[in-house]
């Protein structure tokens, strides 16, 4: 399984997390769906779909929380027959990030993923560069940025 990062500081915490939680797929992205790192994906199209869907779910639940006059939901967990999905947003000095974790229920569990996710967030917050303003992706640059990110993530 390959782990690749667009932002180098995310790589080590991601490698550690995937190993400890025995996650099958992990996608780390901004709340806008811009991919920062991934583990386990083999095709660019899968990353693009997962990032778009993950960011959309987070945005939808954040709106629902707003309607309920509550702070955003911390995490969302779905369990299927063979796989579970864990989706959570968290703050870093670079702004809010979103992690999408897919695990095989024969190998891992939502309890294990939650347990190691807390450490993953702490590791990312510690590794995140404190200086420098995060680069804003403008609509005009979106396609080029996406293409560059996918090249980094899949090496082609």
């Amino acid at each position: 399984m390959t782990t690749r990062a667009v932002e180098a500081w995310t790589l080590q915490p991601l490698v550690k997390f995937t190993k400890e939680a025995e996650a099958r797929l992990v996608l780390l992205m901004t709340s806008a769906g811009q991919v920062m790192a991934q583990h386990g994906f083999s095709r660019a199209v899968e990353v693009m779909s997962a990032a778009a869907l993950g960011a959309a779910i987070i945005a939808s639940t954040a709106e629902m929380a707003k309607e309920l006059k509550q702070p955003p939901f911390a995490a969302l967990s779905h369990q299927g027959e063979r796989h579970g999905i864990f989706l959570a947003g968290f703050g870093t000095p670079r702004g809010m990030l979103v992690a999408l974790v897919v695990y095989d229920i024969e190998v891992s569990s939502v309890g294990l993923v939650q347990l190691f996710f807390e450490q993953f967030v702490a590791d990312l917050q510690a590794a995140c560069p404190k200086e420098g303003v995060p680069k804003q992706v403008l609509a005009a640059d979106f396609e080029r940025e996406l293409s560059d990110s996918l090249k980094t993530l899949f090496g082609r």
Binding site: Q79, G84, I105, S108, S109, V110, G111, L112, Q114, L115
Partner: protein, 116 residues
Amino acid sequence: MTAAGYARTLDLVTRVRGVRGAMLVSSDDGLVVAEHLMEGIKGSAVAALAASLANRLRRAMVAAGVGASVFWHLQCEQGALLVVPAASAIIVVAVAEPDVNVGLVRLELLRAAEAV
């Protein structure tokens, strides 16, 4: 069983001298169903890791052809972890002092497993 029923079941386990805490854990997802723990024990961490271990041990037992596990006891330098899998996809976990009466804890864990 109600939440009060779970609390009563755990209370019987924690009454054994040397038991620092007891938990009912969902073995499929590693989440705490009910807990009665002394301060300083990270319930969610113990639950997730004990459930993971229980699932692996179950598979090892099946692979070895010795049937389902009934009770396991991990003795450590500063304490012990004792677990009984219940029929209802729940494991009953006790965290204890190193010199706890293992026989007595086992008995209470088996009773708790039957009750849940």
